[in-house]
Amino acid sequence: MKISVISREEDITLKERINDISKTHRNLNPELHPFERAREYTRALNATKLERLFAAPFIDSLEGHIDGVYSLAKHPTDLTALLSGSGDGEIRYWNLATKQTVWKTTGHQGFVRGMCAVPFGNNFFSVGDDKTVKLWDFKENKPLNTYAAKNAFSGIDHHRNKPWFVTSSTQIDLWDHERADPIQALSWGADTITTVKMNQTETSILASTGSDRTIILYDLRTSSPISKVIMEMRSNAISWNPMEAFNFTVANENHNCYTFDMRNLKRSINILKDHVSAVLDLDYSPTGQEIVTGGYDKTIRIFNSREGHSRDVYHTKRMQRIFCVKYSMDSKFVLSGSDDGNIRLWKNNSNEKIGTKNHREKASLNYTTALKERYKHMPEINRISKQRKVPKAIKKAASVKRIQTESIKRKQENVRKHSKPGSVKRVPLRDQHIITTEK
């Protein structure tokens, strides 16, 4: 009599070492695996729960500054380099790998307003309220060069591949590394410019925000400003999408961020809501898919760059108002500098495991992520994945804000109802905050 048995050869099935992978055989007969949707839903639910369970975004805080940190700079081609400038003029150069200060110095008298590293070199620039631009080497804490100017600076940014950098004060100045004086000056209107950012993809274009509520775009090729938007409230920061040359986002005083297509400034293409106070800084992730914002409400929020609401909010008890946020160049980490003098290092994905993952682990994570994505509309999963615990003040402020906006909306509706039909027009939210665009 023949008996067929499942035979497992020992040398194939037994692991010699712990990391050996033994092949598992699966029977794909659907009869053996019933209720696939129900099972996958349960898996998705569990994965969502686990995601929240393991959400621990805070990695470390880099302590050392005595005053608040008002400017941060990352090196575009060096992952570990981080620069921070504080309100007392101190500049610190950090090594992110060791989370230690490499060196520190008092770089400016008064605030350090901005810093930027040279993408192709070992130097960086800093500007301050003391009307000077200083060129530094990463190796030593003494400035290599100092450029003097008439006005206090408010921001600085470097060209991607030329030895040029731009500063903002009452106007935009374009500097060459080699020249003592700016090689170009760009201005439109007389007000102070608060920040300037160069486009890293379309390198001749730069944008600035002014204290007169404007956003101005410049082109270095024609050496002139090219367009201007005046918004309802002033914008505090600006950031270009590194993957989409014509899109940029501004952090506005009215608690929102607005994404614009520079080709059509009459309306914003996206509004990022959720902050309950002015947004002070923002940065695009190098992938161009996410935006991190830091607000006056002491929270950091991470947005999907094409969605309207934040996917995550980070806060700690001791963290004060956040004046600068940055994405690390591998888009895995977020850095924030706040009023309390600490730089905090966060994970981009709060539940992500840091370190290497083996193949199976990756596959499993991919699977659960796909499941979560698939079943994200299910009420229970939706609820769990969106639930965040925020400080009471913020929750309260959010609810107040909601009431306010609702009331405004209601009032508008009432006005519309009681006036001649068509006389009170509906203005899309994306247009509401733009007053005019100028040529």
Partner: protein, 1001 residues
């Protein structure tokens, strides 16, 4: 301060330009729409006395200036990028000018009054100019105005001179303009004089000197002489230098003389503000276009299902040893040394290759042929090796079935071939085969192994209800026995060249026998065909299937007939030789079967067995129903022809009726009970009239007298009576009577035909039965069925007479009766009561047909409906919104004597229960349905309240979650593909912004 100067001079120059071009009248003619503002400017020209500065300034041209000036006239200037700084400050300058000038004013006050006077007027004018600048700007787009600020760049070089001239002029304030011009030479020499007080003040001060220009003009016009270009340039005639200027002036003169050419005046540039705006717009358009070149890549990335970062990564290079070697260059010392050594030893790749090729060239032709031979041998060897391997592999196979198949396949070849052909092909094998055959024959004759003498065969034979398969197997065995026992003819004939008479006789005899056998075989086959039952259950019971089967059977029957004809003719042919023998050999059965074919010319072959085999094959393969071979080929048959002959009422009888009739005959057999089916009866009862059945009886000579018949027909009739009594219908009576009468007559006719008395008895019984049926006014179908039943009873009796005892016959009879009822019922539409009655008649539930079972099951359908309605109403009532009075009697009210009871409960004591109005229910208008509209709380968490954002409808959304993602349902490949993250990044890899390479050119 120098800036102010510049400003001033610029404006002055402007005025001069006008002078140069033409008189004011000309300008006015040219531009009739010029307003007063421009007039002011033109009027300035009329000032003679105070304008000394300007004149002097103009006089002060030197070579350089001339060139510049000349250029200025010919070319349009635009913003130079190098002047950015100037431009940046310009705006501020414009505004600041006045403040500074006010300061200047103080200084100039220090100078003497006349100077002041003149200057003030000048300044006033210039101030007016400045004042009006804003206005002008607005118009400037339309008006061909002076060259504005743009000139500054060009004129900076002449600044110094101008200044010096200014100072000079201030000194010569007393002299007239003419004298000043005449003294120009001396002025030139005093170039480098130090600048004293600056008289260029533009502060506006209300005083008698600050009169309006128009006034000034009117005053001055009369008194002062107007300065012409000729006056100014006249001095130059004497000098040899200024060639360029002279030429230019000539040109200008020509222009001024020729009025038509005035149209060539250059258009004034736009105001800076507008100019900048236009510049910006153009620049914006340009940048938009430039930035738009990224559009495609952005679009692509947005639509991409997966994005891998970093994006601009260079593709990985796979390093192979080959690629390394090909690119290898000795860099280090050691490498160089090794390379050198290798080179010395000629061990480089190239050289080695060349050497090999050279070696190959050395072979001679023979050597090459030897090599070929060797290759061939090697090939053979390898082939042999593979063959050997294959054989070994096959030898290892242990499977018995495989071996069996192999064996059969081996034997098949030789078995297939005739002995004759085999002999011609391979005499050895033929001999062997012959021997084998002989051996087999001997063995068979000794053992009789195949004569159903085996254990299994005996057992099977002892069992009475053998099924078709076993019967077939038994038959096969017998056939084999026959085959083996047969004389081996081929060999004999081959051995002896000519056989004797005996052999011939034998052969002939064999042939006659063969024909007889074949005919018998055919008959039996025909029987078997007609014996085949068309299944009444399962798939084969379906109408089309049955039809198909029927067709197949017909076809096979036809072919049998053909063959029979052929055989018949053959037999005739053979009967010419030996008639007597044949007659004796022919069976009674073969006589009956079929007509004789007269004109058949086909010869009867020896291998008739093969033909038979073929037929069998066609029969067996023709349809899903296996055709069994009759156990007893000698059994009496109802032939198709006999049926047709005896058919009195209907002309045609289809095979089904034959079928049924055959079955009737089988009733008498051992397995009558099993084969007797209502179906066959159903088919039979309408088409086979009574008379025919009687004829059948008459054809059966064996059962002449049947003592059982009369006695058994009575209860049968009774049963029919009881059946029919319940369905009396007046209208049908007459028709039936008529019909019965006809039948009677016909039956009588047939009776007359049959002369035999014994048959009459039977006839009478049947007629009596008929009459009884008529009298009882039975419905048509019932009478039919009854008669048929009766007929069957008769047949049963006839069949049974010889074989079985009486008791069994009666039993059969009853069954027949019952089943005949059944058959009638199932075919005709009858109402429930009768059905019920029929069913009641049945003893066994298993005997109920499907239809009846269904009827039984749904007998009380109406009752269910009513119940359902009741339930629905109650549910509707329960679920509608309700108001429940929850007042507790006595509570909250006064008690005692004379207290009125409240009629209506107060509102707060009425508890409202939400529900659904009866009209609003989804099932309110649906008949057979109750829809539960209560919210299912448990299932709520698995339901999405609305279609999620981004999906148009439910189906679209559901489609996205249809396919499972897990490993249990997907292969590992698909698993990976399906779960690939949308954005994947690598830890510690810098993601650079998009590189400009990706931008579309």
């Amino acid at each position: 301060m120098p800036k102010n100067k510049r400003q001033k001079t610029r404006k002055e120059k402007k005025k001069i330009n006008y002078d140069v071009f033409s008189d004011e009248e000309k300008v006015e003619k040219e531009n009739p729409h010029l307003d007063s503002v421009t007039n002011y400017e033109y009027n300035v020209d009329k000032i003679k006395f105070e304008d000394d500065e300007e004149i002097s300034e103009d006089e002060a041209f030197d070579d350089d200036d001339n060139e510049k000036y000349g250029e200025f006239f010919s070319q349009e200037l635009d913003l130079n990028e190098t002047d950015l700084e100037d431009e940046g400050e310009k705006g501020e300058d414009d505004e600041e000018d006045f403040d500074h000038d006010e300061d200047m004013m103080d200084i100039s006050d220090l100078l003497n009054a006349e100077v002041k006077e003149s200057k003030n007027s000048v300044k006033r004018q210039s101030h007016n100019l400045v004042d009006n600048e804003a206005l002008q700007k607005t118009m400037s787009i339309l008006l061909p105005d002076t060259h504005d600020e743009e000139e500054t760049g060009e004129l900076t070089n002449s600044e110094d001179e101008n200044e010096s001239i200014d100072s000079e002029a201030s000194e010569n304030e007393d002299d007239g303009l003419v004298t000043l011009i005449s003294n120009l030479d001396t002025i030139k020499s005093g170039k480098k004089r130090k600048r004293t007080a600056d008289e260029v003040t533009e502060a506006y001060e209300e005083s008698e000197y600050n009169l309006t220009t128009s006034q000034n003009d009117s005053n001055l016009n009369g008194t002062k002489k107007k300065v012409n270009v000729s006056d100014l340039v006249g001095v130059l005639k004497d000098t040899t230098s200024f060639g360029g200027l002279k030429k230019h002036i000539e040109k200008l003169n020509k222009v001024s003389n020729n009025k038509e050419n005035l149209g060539d005046t250059l258009a004034a540039p736009l105001a800076k503000r507008f100019h900048d705006k236009l510049n910006r717009e153009a620049a914006y358009e340009q940048s938009k276009k430039e930035v738009g070149k990224w559009g495609h890549i952005v679009q692509k990335n947005r639509q991409a299902e997966h994005l891998n970062f970093p994006m601009n990564e260079a593709p990985k290079i796979n390093l192979t040893s080959g690629s390394l070697i090909s690119k290898f260059e000795a860099n280090t010392e050691m490498e160089n040394e090794i390379q050198a050594v290798l080179n010395d030893a000629d061990l480089t790749e190239k050289k080695q290759k060349n050497l090999e090729e050279l070696e190959m060239n050395k072979y001679t032709k023979e050597e090459v042929s030897i090599a070929d031979r060797r290759a061939e041998l090697a090939k053979m060897r390898s082939l042999m090796f593979f063959q050997e391997q294959k054989k070994k592999k096959i030898a290892k196979i242990k499977s018995k079935t495989y071996r069996k198949i192999q064996r059969k396949a081996k034997g098949h070849l030789s078995a297939d071939l005739d002995l004759e052909t085999l002999k011609s092909l391979d005499p050895e094998a033929a001999k062997e085969k012959l021997l084998q055959m002989e051996r087999d024959r001997a063995k068979e004759r000794m053992t009789l192994k195949h004569k159903n003498s085996g254990k299994w065969a005996k057992k099977m034979l002892s069992r009475k209800d053998t099924d078709s398969e076993t019967r077939k197997a038994l038959m096969e065995q017998l056939e084999k026995h026959e085959e083996l026992k047969k004389k081996i003819s081929g060999m004999h004939s081959s051995d002896d060249d000519f056989s004797g008479d005996e052999d011939d006789d034998d052969e002939e005899g064999d042939g006659g026998e063969d024909i007889a056998n074949a005919v018998m075989e055919l008959n039996s086959m025909k029987n078997s065909i007609s014996d085949t039952q068309i299944p009444t259950t399962g798939v084969f019971a379906m109408k089309f299937m049955r039809k198909h089967v029927k067709e197949q059977l017909d076809a096979s029957k036809r072919s049998i007939d053909e063959l029979q004809e052929m055989l018949e003719s053959e037999r005739q042919h053979s009967s010419d030789f030996s008639e007597n023998e044949e007659e004796s050999k022919l069976d009674s059965n073969t006589k009956v079967s079929g007509r004789k074919g007269l004109n058949s010319t086909r010869t009867f072959d020896d291998n008739d067995k093969d033909l038979e085999q073929k037929f069998e094959n066609t029969l067996t393969s023709s349809g899903p129903i296996s055709i069994k071979k009759p156990v007893d080929p000698l059994k009496p048959l109802f032939e198709v022809e006999s049926f047709e002959d005896s058919n009195l009422f209907e002309g045609s009888v289809n095979s089904n009726t034959i079928n049924s009739s055959l079955k009737v005959s089988e009733v008498g057999d051992v397995d009558a009970h099993s084969s007797f089916k209502s179906d066959s009866l159903k088919d039979l009862k309408e088409e086979v009239p009574k008379g025919k059945i009687e004829d059948d009886f008459s054809g059966n000579e064996s059962n002449a007298e049947n003592p059982w018949l009369s006695s058994f027909s009575k209860p049968l009739l009774k049963s029919i009576k009881t059946n029919s009594q319940s369905f009396k219908e007046g209208k049908q009576e007459k028709a039936l009577k008529k019909f019965a009468g006809d039948k009677k007559e016909k039956l009588r006719n047939s009776k007359i035909k049959n002369n035999d008395d014994t048959y009459e008895k039977l006839d009478i019984t049947s007629i009596a039965e008929m009459e009884k049926a008529e009298v009882d006014e039975v419905t048509e179908e019932v009478t039919d069925s009854a008669t048929i039943a009766a007929a069957e009873v008769n047949t049963v009796l006839t069949g049974k007479n010889e074989t079985s005892d009486d008791f069994s016959v009666t039993k059969d009879m009853r069954k027949v009766i019952v089943e005949s009822d059944d058959g009638a019922d199932s075919d005709f539409e009858v109402d429930g009561e009768r059905n019920h009655f029929n069913m009641m008649n049945k003893k066994d539930v298993s005997q109920l047909s499907q239809r009846e079972v269904m009827r039984l099951a749904f007998a009380d359908d109406n009752m269910f409906e009513v119940e359902f309605e009741k339930e629905k109403v109650s549910i509707m009532e329960k679920e509608k919104p309700q108001e429940i009075d929850v007042t507790l009697p006595g509570w909250g009210s006064w008690s005692g004597i004379g207290v009125k009871q409240k009629k209506k409960p107060s509102k707060k004591h009425i508890k409202k229960v939400d529900g659904i109005d009866i009209d609003k229910r989804k099932d309110s208008k649906l008949k057979n349905v109750i829809i539960n509209e209560k919210r299912q709380k448990k299932s709520l968490k698995y339901q999405i309240p609305s279609v999620p954002h981004g999906f148009n409808n439910r189906e679209q959304y559901e489609k996205t979650i249809r396919l499972p993602l897990g490993k249990e349902w997907q292969t590992s490949d698909t698993f990976q593909k399906l779960n690939k993250p949308k954005i994947s990044t690598i830890d510690g890899k810098i993601i650079h912004p998009l590189s400009s390479k990706l931008k579309r050119k």
